[in-house]
Every structure is written in structure tokens, then in C-alpha cells.
């Protein structure tokens, strides 16, 4: 079967996408899940029945609440040493005094990475550990649907008041009787975010109409992000918090009557901060947060202060549920913090622990088939039995020392069981499904090898090669490998203890995957065999031996290899944008040198050009490969040569061409300072923040208007008249959309109008996007069916491209519109001034496009962290969250840079077809290859680094980005192939 390179490459990418999907599914196991909330309200378990007949405990209800009012003060990014360390002693005198001498219990709560606010709030309220994928999946649907403490409290009729970070308001809509959300968007705001919370405090503390008050203070987190944990701003902020705690505590104490229950004040942090003031990772400072329980119910601390005990952050949900007399959330993996209920009677304490253990063991039952073998479950059953015995003694009226000692023993058994249960439940979140990962890796690697082995043939001038399908498919080897793999599959799946996704698939699918793997393997073997065969036959191949590598080739190769190698270091992943900026800079200088050589050394060396020659010299140096210039330099003999008039006419072109790399370099430098991204330098001031701040709205509006006009000028030149008009109207619509949602203003509008969602405007633009894309597709189909001249086709392609540009203009935030302008500008200049005159081949141009696409991904402000995904793009023109369009729009907005460059590549190559008929095939193949290499290497790297400290904060988000990029590339390559197919048919006609 003869295959074109493009077809081959896209089918390879499809298979690779399958492998990557399988790997991702194994790498990110779904979090521990329980039944939905509606079924959560099952009757609570009774106390364990004492052995023997006749006696039944009469305590079947949930124990009554232990506290009347609960105030939870959550201070964002409160690190443990801010309270327990020297800073706490210095700046939080009241809190320190309460910790040391007051009625309080203090702990260090350990947060699980990712130490970001939203998952941490989930952990605090549900008691479960949100898995990494959980964070991603719920990026768009804010409301928390799992069983949680807040929901339980609301259902039990408690009145909850919330002030602080509006993440809570989004997570728990309609849960609070009163709330005021502050946005955490402006990180530079240190005081107002907290004043907005505190201003309600006096009023609320006087009132009696609430049961739970939650305060979430953001100021400390903002100070951390801007200035770090050791900044002079931290002290006053801690002091402010101390005063607030003092006020709340005194007010709570004054409210306590003689008869009523005591009140409880909980102070905690959602996560800490690292030494640079950021969070998200798993360093000690980020993970350890203080947890204080202050209540008059506790005994006064006596004796010297000991180091606070380490507990899990998830324990808070369980403890609060017990304290408030609520059922424990079903998905909670937390343990009851016993000291908090330590002054209750033994019977009550045992009852609480039993409830906790029962909930945990039920969660285990729902998640593991072999739960009975779990040591935690066994411990729990034993403890339950001895609990029953204890109750028998208790009901018998035995009230001696023996009862107390026995009770203590049961308590210990329970604690042990709880610990084991919750650790085996938490482990489920962090367990890797190695088998699925392995199968995925094998597929990806096989595809990569196949692509690499076939490269010389695929890049031959015909871009076509023979794929021998039948010999490998009917060989003995194929069947043997197939059988062996199936056997391995059966053995692995029957012996595996934990859940395995690949095993849970249907047998038919699994066998299909096995057949695919063995087919790929046989394909690789036959390709190797062919290469060996051809190398044995001494064929003189003068082309290969003669071809020397130009500087650009060397740069492309070293750049690709260097980038792949850099993926092994977490810092290089965090700062990957630097790699790409560095590479495209060097590429531009190399191109400049190439241009100089093209224009000067090949022709003349007349004295007028001495300045440029100097430039050329410097670029020769810059390109650090000074010795490969093929043509001997211009000698002195040419010195006196007089330039002819014809060359003067050509002169202006030449200068523009020579200047273009420098203009591109300047554009890239400007874009670089538009959006600071990454981790280390992300806090640096940049144009983007300057533009988005509210006092620069008019500048932003002006910039947006200029950018939109520029986009129109750059895009319209190749469009038909209809799409030109549509484009202009669409861009107008973009401006009015941004004005409607309040990002920018119209020049005549000075007072801030009421802000709408801009749905009409956005839909108006969508109509034009669809219209332009439709016109383009119509042209493409026409060129395919009627086989008209290629100009129709190139216009069609360009129209599809301009439709996508319009969509990107709509989805980009207004300060990012210059990115789009510079993207179009650089593409135009590259095409006109660099690629055409230098006559690069399709492979080189493809890789350059890919590099620029990657750089533009970061120019847009993206990074390898999930925080920079602009989720708001998914809501443009939509009334509410609709999953499919939202995902599509967000993905498009995020990957707009690489996508636009890829489509531009398609436009460019299709215009090159007249010169090189195989250009499209080569381009498609190279694109697939250049994408497969980093993915395959990265998958192996991540597998080997899966116990790395930064796996969740650095490597996993990058893995998701890579996976997503593979899917997008597969789609692009399919589009390529579709275009190429037309071309090939026409060539055959």
C-alpha cells in the first residue's frame, strides 16, 4: 500500500493521541468518589451492640452539638511559623498568649499539594483530598457538588455568614444567609481586601442570628506574592489579624451564658507560602499551616508549651462536623482530632470515634473491592467489637477504674484504625496506575520510532512511500507477539490488587490495543530490516554525502534536542518560555546572517555597503558557525566594481529584507515584556498589568482599537470582498463586546455604564466568524470538486485562517490583542522577506513555524501552570456554563498561538506547492515528528520522576499541556492531510 507522508503522519499522530490518553488516564487516577450527595443522608450508625442477646444501646442518633457558635477565621497563606515561630511571638501577642496559657489546642495542619486556595478550601470543607485532575475538571463548574460540611450545616438549619474570598461564594452558592465576597484578582491590594471583611465584623458580632461565621482574609497571601514572607509588610498584617482574633475571642466569651453551650473559634490557613512568597508546590513552608481551636470548653493549658502536633488539613472537616453535631461528610478521609473532644465522657468520645471509623470504612467499601483485607478495616472491626464489650460493661453499671482503663484501650484501638484507614484512602488518590501508563508509553514510543525510521523516505522528493502491510500482518512474529501480550494482560489483570483502568476496559478493546501494539512493533522491525538491507547494498548516494549542514540546520537540530533535554529540570519547565524566546532570538540572528550572505557575499562587495558588511560580520559571529560559508569571500579584485542601476532598484527590497529579522527581534522583545510569565519572574511589572489596571482604561481602549485596525489591515489583503466586509464588522463587534463587558470604553462614553455580559455583541461576532469560515470552506470545496486553479484554494485557506484570527481577537483579553497583531506582522514579514528569498525547504519552514508557535503560546501569557489558563474565554457569548463550547473556546484561546502559526504554515505551504509538490506532505510529517519527540521523551521523564517533590506542582500541569497539545496537533495534521489529499488528486488528474 502506498502512503503519502501526510496521511502516514496524521494516522501516526492519531495512534499517539490514543497512547497519550491512556497514559494520562493512568497517571491521573480519578479521586476517591462516594455516592452523590442526595443519598448521603443515610441514618447514622448506632453504637456498637454489646455482645449477648437482649441488650441494645439506645444511642442511635447523632450526638448533639458540642459548641453553640463557631467562628472560622481562615487567613490565606498563613504559614505555621507566622503563629508558632518568632514572628508570632513578636506580632501576634494575644494569640501567642492564648496558645501558651489560654484554653486552646494548637496543631500544625499539613496541606496536600497542589497548595492552591480552591482545592484547599475543598479539602477543609469536604475532608477529602481533591485529586489533581479534580481541580482541572472543576475549573469551570465552580459549585461544589460533593457532600461537605457547609451543606450539612445548611441542611441542619444552621445559619452561616461568610465574608472574604469569593471562591467560597462560588463553591457554595445559596449556602450563606449573608455574604460579601472579595475578589482575589488584584494581587497588589494589601489592605482593601481585608478591610472589606473586617468592616462587617463589629455588626455581626453584636447580632445573635447566626451559628457559623466564616472569615477568609486574603491580604497576607497578596503580601506574600508581592514581597515574600520576610517583607516588612508581613508583621503589621499579622498584628492586624491578631487584633481581629482578639476582638472575636472576647466577643465570643462575652456571649457565653451560664447554661448554654460554649463557643468555638477556629483559626487556620489554607496553605503556607514558600521562601519566595508563592505557593502551589510541596515545600515545607507551603504545606504547613497552623490550626488553632480556641474555646472556653477546653481546659487551661498547664505545663510548658510543647511543639504543636502534626495533623492533616482534612481532619478539620471531621472535627467540626462532630463539634457541630452534624454527620461527617461522606468523602472525608479525615480523622477526628481527639484533644478537641478530650473533656467529654469516655462514652461520648468512643461514640465520636466510632462514627468517624464507620464513615471511613464505608468510604473504603465503596472504593475498593477487596476492602475486607485492608488492615485499617480489620483494625476497625476489632475496635468495634471491643467497643461493644465496653458498652456492655458500661450498661451493666460498672463504673470503676477498670472501665476507664478498658475505655482507653478501645480509644487507642480506634485511633490506630482511623489512622490506617485514612492513610489507605489517601493513598488511593496518589496511586499511579502503572499498567495503563506503561501501555500508553509503549504506544507513544513505538509511534515515535516508526516516525523516526521512516523520516528519510517521508522527506524524499515524492513524499510517498510503500508501506508493506501484508507481510508483517501475516507473519508468525505478529501472532506470537499478539498472543504473548494478551497473556501478559490476563496475568497482570488477574493479579492486580488495585484498580487499573486498562484492565477495566472491555476485553475486545484491550485485545484491539494489543493488536495495535504488535502491529506497530512489526512495522518498526520491518522498517529496520529495510534500512539494513539498503545499507548493505552499496548504493552511491551522492546527495546525502554532499549535503553539508547550514547554520540554520545546526541550530534547528540543537534547539530541538536542547529543548527536549531541558524538560528534565523542573525550573526549565517552569521557565520554558525562556527556552523558546532564546531559541527564536538565535533563529532570527541566524536568519539575518543567512540573508546577509545571500545578498552580499554571493554578489558583490562594493564599498558602499561597508556598514552593512559590518553588520553582516557581526551576525556571522553571532551565528557562531563562521566557517561554513560556501562561496569564497569577495576579494579585493571586486572592490572597484561599480553597482549597476538595476541593483539600486533592487536595493530597497534588499534593505527591507535585511531589516526584517531585526524588526522581528524587536517585536519579540516587546511581546516578551507584555506578559511576564513563568514562576521566578512572574511578579515583575509588565505592560499587561499596567494596561489592565483601572486607571489606564483609556490607554487600553486606544491600544485595542489600534490593534483591531492593524489586524484588519494585515488580514484583509488576501480575502475576498465579502469576507473583508465581514471581517471589518466582526472586529467592530469585538470592540463593542469588550466595551459592553467593561474592559474598555468608547471615546464618547466617560461615565462607567452598567456592565452587561455582552452576549449579543459576542454572538454578533460569532456569526461573522462562522460566515468567514464558511466562505473559506466553500472555496476549498469548490477548488476540490471543480478543480479550479489553486488561487481559489489559497483564498479559501486564507479565509479560514482569517476567521480563526477573528475568533482569537474576540477571545483574547484586550491587552493581548497586540500579540495577535505582532503574530500577523511577523508572519507577513517572514513570508515576504525571509522564506521566499532564502528558499528554505518545507521541513525547515515547518520547524521554524513550530518554534514561533510555541513562543507565541507564552507571549499570550500562558505558562506551564494551570493558573494561567484563561477560563473566562469559555464564557464569551454564553449565558451560563455549557460544557462543550466552553471547553472548545478555552482550548482555542489557550492554544491560539500554536494554532494560528500552524494554519499559517498550511497557507504558506499550499502556496509553495507550485515549487515543490511534496511541500504539504513534508510539512505535515515534520509537524507530527517535532511534536512527537518532546511528548515521548516527556512521558518517560514523568514516569521516572513520579515521586519527585514537584510532580504535582510542576510536572503534572506540563503533562496536561503536552497531552492537550498532541490532540490539537492531531487535528491540525488531519486538516493538513485533507488539504494535501485535494492536491494529490489534482496532481494525478
Amino acid at each position: 500500500m502506498r502512503l503519502r507522508s501526510g496521511v502516514f503522519a496524521s494516522s501516526c499522530l492519531l495512534v499517539e493521541a490514543l497512547g497519550v490518553a491512556l497514559f494520562l488516564r493512568g497517571f491521573f487516577p480519578l479521586p476517591v468518589r462516594s455516592l452523590p450527595r442526595s443519598e448521603a443522608r443515610r441514618d447514622p450508625p448506632a453504637e456498637p451492640a454489646p455482645p449477648g442477646s437482649g441488650m441494645v444501646s439506645n444511642w442511635t442518633k447523632i450526638p448533639p452539638p458540642l459548641f453553640k457558635k463557631v467562628v472560622i477565621v481562615l487567613i490565606d497563606a498563613l504559614r505555621d511559623d507566622f503563629v508558632f515561630g518568632s514572628k508570632g511571638k513578636q506580632f501576634m501577642p494575644y494569640t501567642t498568649q492564648v496558645i501558651e496559657k489560654g484554653t486552646s489546642h494548637s496543631f500544625i495542619a499539613e496541606a496536600k499539594p497542589p497548595t492552591v486556595t480552591m482545592p484547599r478550601i475543598k479539602a477543609l470543607t469536604t475532608g477529602s483530598i481533591p485529586g489533581f485532575i479534580d481541580v482541572i475538571v472543576n475549573l469551570n463548574s465552580p459549585a461544589l457538588l460533593d457532600d461537605n460540611l457547609i451543606w450539612q450545616a445548611k441542611t441542619a438549619g444552621k445559619r452561616i455568614i461568610f465574608y472574604g474570598d469569593d471562591t467560597w461564594v462560588k463553591l457554595f452558592p445559596k449556602h450563606f444567609v449573608e455574604y460579601d465576597g472579595t475578589t482575589s484578582f488584584f494581587v497588589s491590594d494589601f489592605t482593601e481586601v481585608d478591610d472589606n471583611v473586617t468592616r462587617h465584623l463589629d455588626r455581626v458580632l453584636k447580632r445573635e442570628d447566626w451559628d457559623i461565621l466564616i472569615l477568609h482574609y486574603l491580604g497576607l497571601d497578596h503580601i506574600g506574592h508581592m514581597t515574600g514572607p520576610n517583607s516588612p509588610l508581613v508583621g503589621p498584617k499579622l498584628h492586624e489579624m491578631d487584633n481581629i482574633l482578639k476582638k472575636i475571642h472576647i466577643s465570643l466569651l462575652s456571649k457565653e451564658g451560664e447554661s448554654s453551650l460554649p463557643n468555638l473559634l477556629v483559626v487556620c490557613g489554607d496553605h503556607g507560602m514558600s521562601e519566595t512568597g508563592n505557593h502551589g508546590g510541596s515545600s515545607e513552608g507551603e504545606v504547613h499551616t497552623p490550626l488553632l481551636f480556641i474555646s472556653s470548653a477546653f481546659e487551661k493549658r498547664s505545663g510548658p508549651l510543647t511543639q504543636p502536633k502534626l495533623v492533616q488539613q482534612t481532619d478539620l472537616a471531621t472535627t467540626l462536623a462532630v463539634g457541630l453535631g452534624l454527620p461527617i461528610s461522606r468523602n472525608s478521609v479525615g480523622n477526628l482530632i481527639l484533644p478537641v473532644v478530650g473533656d467529654k465522657t469516655m462514652r461520648e468520645q468512643l461514640r465520636f470515634l466510632h462514627l468517624n471509623g464507620f464513615q471511613l470504612s464505608r468510604l473504603l467499601q465503596e472504593n475498593t473491592p477487596a476492602y475486607e483485607k485492608d488492615p485499617g478495616y480489620e483494625h476497625f472491626k476489632i475496635a468495634e467489637k471491643s467497643h461493644g464489650n465496653w458498652i456492655k460493661l458500661y450498661l451493666d453499671g460498672n463504673n470503676s477504674e477498670i472501665l476507664l482503663n478498658l475505655g482507653k484501650k478501645v480509644l487507642k484501638q480506634y485511633l490506630e484504625a482511623l489512622k490506617t484507614l485514612s492513610s489507605s484512602l489517601s493513598k488511593q488518590v496518589a496511586q499511579y496506575d502503572m499498567y495503563s501508563m506503561l501501555v500508553g508509553t509503549v504506544i507513544v514510543l513505538e509511534v515515535l520510532f516508526l516516525l523516526l525510521l521512516i523520516t528519510p523516505k517521508a522527506l524524499s522528493s515524492r513524499a510517498e512511500f510503500e508501506v508493506p502491510l501484508s507481510p508483517p500482518l501475516f507473519s508468525l512474529l505478529f501472532y506470537l507477539v499478539c498472543l504473548m501480550l494478551c497473556a501478559v494482560h490476563v496475568i497482570v489483570c488477574t493479579s492486580a490488587e488495585s484498580l487499573c483502568y486498562f484492565c477495566s476496559m472491555s476485553w475486545l478493546t484491550a485485545v484491539g490495543v494489543m493488536v495495535l501494539i504488535s502491529a506497530l512493533m512489526c512495522g518498526i522491525l520491518s522498517a529496520i530490516g529495510k534500512i539494513l538491507e539498503s545499507s548493505r547494498v552499496p548504493v552511491k548516494n551522492p546527495v546525502v554525502s554532499n549535503s553539508s549542514w547550514s547554520e540554520v540546520d545546526v541550530l534547528i537540530l540543537t534547539g530541538t534536542i536542547g529543548h527536549v533535554l531541558s524538560l528534565g529540570a523542573s525550573s526549565f519547565i517552569e521557565e520554558e518560555h525562556q527556552t523558546w524566546y532564546f531559541l527564536i532570538n538565535t533563529l532570527c540572528l541566524a536568519l539575518c546572517q543567512e540573508l546577509c550572505r545571500n545578498y552580499f557575499l554571493l554578489k558583490e562587495g562594493d564599498p558602499q555597503h561597508s556598514i552593512t558588511l559590518k553588520q553582516s560580520f557581526d551576525n556571522v559571529k553571532e551565528a557562531y558557525e563562521c566557517k561554513n560559508i560556501d562561496i569564497p569571500a569577495a576579494g579585493d579584485s571586486k572592490l572597484g566594481k561599480v553597482t549597476s542601476s538595476a541593483e539600486f532598484i533592487k536595493g530597497s527590497d534588499k534593505w527591507i529584507s535585511l531589516a526584517s529579522p531585526w524588526i522581528i527581534l524587536i517585536c519579540c522583545r516587546l511581546l516578551r515584556s507584555l506578559n511576564q510569565t513563568g514562576v521566578q519572574w512572574a511578579h515583575r511589572p509588565d505592560f499587561g498589568h499596567w494596561l489592565t489596571s483601572s486607571e489606564h482604561k483609556s490607554e487600553l481602549s486606544f491600544l485595542a482599537a489600534v490593534s483591531l485596525v492593524m489586524i484588519f489591515i494585515l488580514v484583509q489583503r488576501k480575502c475576498s470582498l465579502v469576507s473583508k466586509i465581514a471581517m471589518a464588522l466582526g472586529l467592530l463587534g469585538v470592540y463593542s463586546y469588550r466595551a459592553a463587558i467593561g474592559n474598555i470604553i468608547f471615546p464618547w462614553q466617560h461615565d462607567s455604564k452598567d456592565i452587561s455580559k455582552g452576549i449579543t455583541e459576542a454572538r454578533f461576532v460569532y456569526v461573522f466568524v462562522l460566515g468567514i469560515v464558511f466562505t473559506g470552506t466553500k472555496d476549498l470545496l469548490k477548488s476540490q470538486v471543480i478543480s479550479a486553479d489553486s488561487s481559489v484554494k489559497s483564498i479559501g485557506l486564507w479565509e479560514v485562517y482569517s476567521g480563526l484570527v477573528l475568533l482569537a481577537a474576540l477571545l483574547f483579553r484586550p491587552h493581548n490583542l497586540p500579540v495577535l497583531v505582532f503574530c500577523l506582522l511577523i508572519q507577513t514579514m517572514m513570508t515576504k522577506c525571509i522564506w521566499r528569498p532564502l528558499k528554505f525547504d518545507a521541513a525547515q519552514i515547518t520547524i521554524m513555524h513550530y518554534w514561533f508557535g510555541q513562543a507565541f503560546f507564552y507571549f499570550q501569557g500562558n505558562s506551564n501552570g494551570i493558573a494561567t489558563v484563561d477560563v473566562s474565554a469559555g464564557f464569551v457569548g454564553l449565558d451560563s456554563y455549557v460544557e462543550i463550547p466552553a471547553i472548545f473556546l478555552t482550548a482555542f484561546a489557550t492554544y491560539a498561538g500554536p494554532l494560528l502559526w500552524a494554519i499559517h504554515l498550511l497557507c504558506y505551504l499550499s502556496s509553495e506547492v507550485s515549487r515543490n509538490s511534496a511541500a504539504m506532505g513534508h510539512g505535515c510529517f515534520c509537524y507530527a515528528l517535532v511534536r512527537s519527540i518532546p511528548v515521548a521523551v516527556y512521558i518517560i521523564l514523568v514516569t521516572s520522576l513520579r515521586y519527585h517533590l514537584f510532580i504535582w506542582s510542576v510536572f503534572s500541569p506540563k503533562l496536561l499541556y503536552e497531552g492537550m497539545h498532541v490532540f490539537i496537533t492531531a487535528v491540525i495534521c488531519l486538516f493538513f492531510t485533507a488539504m494535501d489529499q485535494n492536491q494529490s488528486r489534482k496532481v494525478q488528474d
Binding site: Q578, F617, C626, K627, I631, S673, Q680
Partner: protein, 219 residues
């Protein structure tokens, strides 16, 4: 003849390497708290000045490319001025390129400019010493098969190594090791210096090993 010249080249290059090493140690006796990392800017100045001085002296003493005709005093002055202008222009050009590569535009201008001066010292100044302000000669030397003496070869190698060293020197900057030498522009200038020293040592050795293949066509 060739062997003797290679020896002279080796001696001159070793002298340069030695002087760079001296610039890292000797100033500590005269200046308080001097260290290459701590007071990097001082070191940059000292290194650039001493390498320039040494190069000029070496050029005057060795005269690798003697100019064919005796020139007048005025001509010499104009030549010298031209050299100065070229050197300054190359500093500016390097500065611009470094800024385009992402160095901060307004902050730490001094650091960036001194780094550009160092790079110019390692590259342009050498060319100026060896070839004079003669662009044609530069182009000839830096094109394929353009070298006409072992001095030209040495020039090619050291220039290339310095630039490459500076290029590779930028790599450790994004790493989060928080080492003092990761601060801009220390790693780059150290990279350029190491590259230059490596070039100085490699050049005579490379020429020695390839002396059979190296045939210089006479003009």
C-alpha cells in the same frame, strides 16, 4: 617557520589566559572585599581593560599582519580613531542584541553594557588589533577558507568560542538554585570568559594537529 609561529601563538595565548587568571586574584591585594562574584562589575572593568591592554601590546610586539606600506602619522591617527569608533559601535550592537535576548532594558544597564564591553573585548578588539579597521579583511577571515595565517585561524576560534560561551552562559539563569553566580550578567560573562580561555588554548593545539591540512594561499 610554521612551527615557530605556532609556538609564538601559543605563548601569546597562554599569556592572555594567564592575565585573565591574574585579574581574578591580584586586585584582591589592592581593593578591599574584591571577588569576581561579589564585586562583579569591578572585575568586568579590570578584565576588559587588562585584556585590551595586553592585546594591543601583543599586537604591537608580534605584528602578525604587518601592514605593507609605511603610513603617515595622520593616517595612523585616523586609523586609531576608526578603531575606537568601531569598538564603541560593537559595544552598542552587543548591548542591543543582549537586550533583545531579554536582558532588562532600564534596570541594570551598567551590568549589561559592561558585559557588552567584555564581549567586544574578546571579539571585536582582537579583530581590530589583528586586522585593523578593515571590514573587507574581517569578512575574508570569517568566511570559509578565508584564513591566511595561523593568526587568522586563532582569531576565528577564539571569537567563536567567546560568543558560544556567552550563549551557553545564559542557560543556568532560569534554574532555581539561588546561587550568587546566577545573577545577571555573571553567568554569561563567566561563560564568555571561559569560552575565550578555552578558545585561546584550543586554537594553537588545533592548528598544531591540523598543520598538514592547513594551507594558506598567499595573496
Amino acid at each position: 617557520m610554521k612551527e615557530a609561529e605556532i609556538k609564538r601563538l601559543l605563548a601569546a595565548n597562554l599569556l592572555c589566559v594567564f592575565s585573565i587568571i591574574l585579574t581574578t586574584t591580584v586586585p584582591a591585594f589592592f581593593l578591599d572585599s574584591f571577588s569576581v562574584l561579589g564585586t562583579h562589575l569591578t572585575w568586568l572593568c579590570i578584565c576588559s581593560v587588562s585584556i585590551s591592554a595586553l592585546n594591543i601590546v601583543l599586537c604591537l610586539v608580534l605584528r602578525p599582519n604587518p601592514s605593507p606600506k609605511r603610513s603617515s602619522f595622520a593616517h595612523k591617527i585616523s586609523r586609531f580613531l576608526k578603531c575606537c569608533i568601531y569598538f564603541f559601535m560593537s559595544c552598542i550592537l552587543f548591548h542591543v542584541i543582549v537586550v533583545l535576548y531579554g536582558a532588562p532594558l532600564i534596570e541594570s544597564v551598567t551590568e549589561t553594557f559592561l558585559f557588552a564591553v567584555l564581549l567586544s573585548t574578546f571579539t571585536t578588539l582582537q579583530c581590530l588589533c589583528m586586522l585593523g579597521p578593515n571590514i573587507q579583511a574581517w569578512i575574508r577571515v570569517f568566511s570559509k577558507n578565508g584564513a591566511m595565517s595561523i593568526w587568522d585561524n586563532s582569531l576565528q576560534i577564539t571569537t567563536m568560542c567567546s560568543i558560544l560561551g556567552a550563549w551557553f552562559g545564559a542557560f543556568p539563569i532560569p534554574l532555581d538554585w539561588d546561587r550568587p553566580w546566577q545573577v545577571w550578567p555573571i553567568s554569561c560573562s563567566l561563560g564568555a570568559t571561559f569560552g575565550y580561555m578555552a578558545g585561546l588554548i584550543i586554537a594553537p593545539l588545533w592548528i598544531h594537529w591540523n598543520r598538514k591540512q592547513l594551507t594558506y594561499k598567499s595573496r
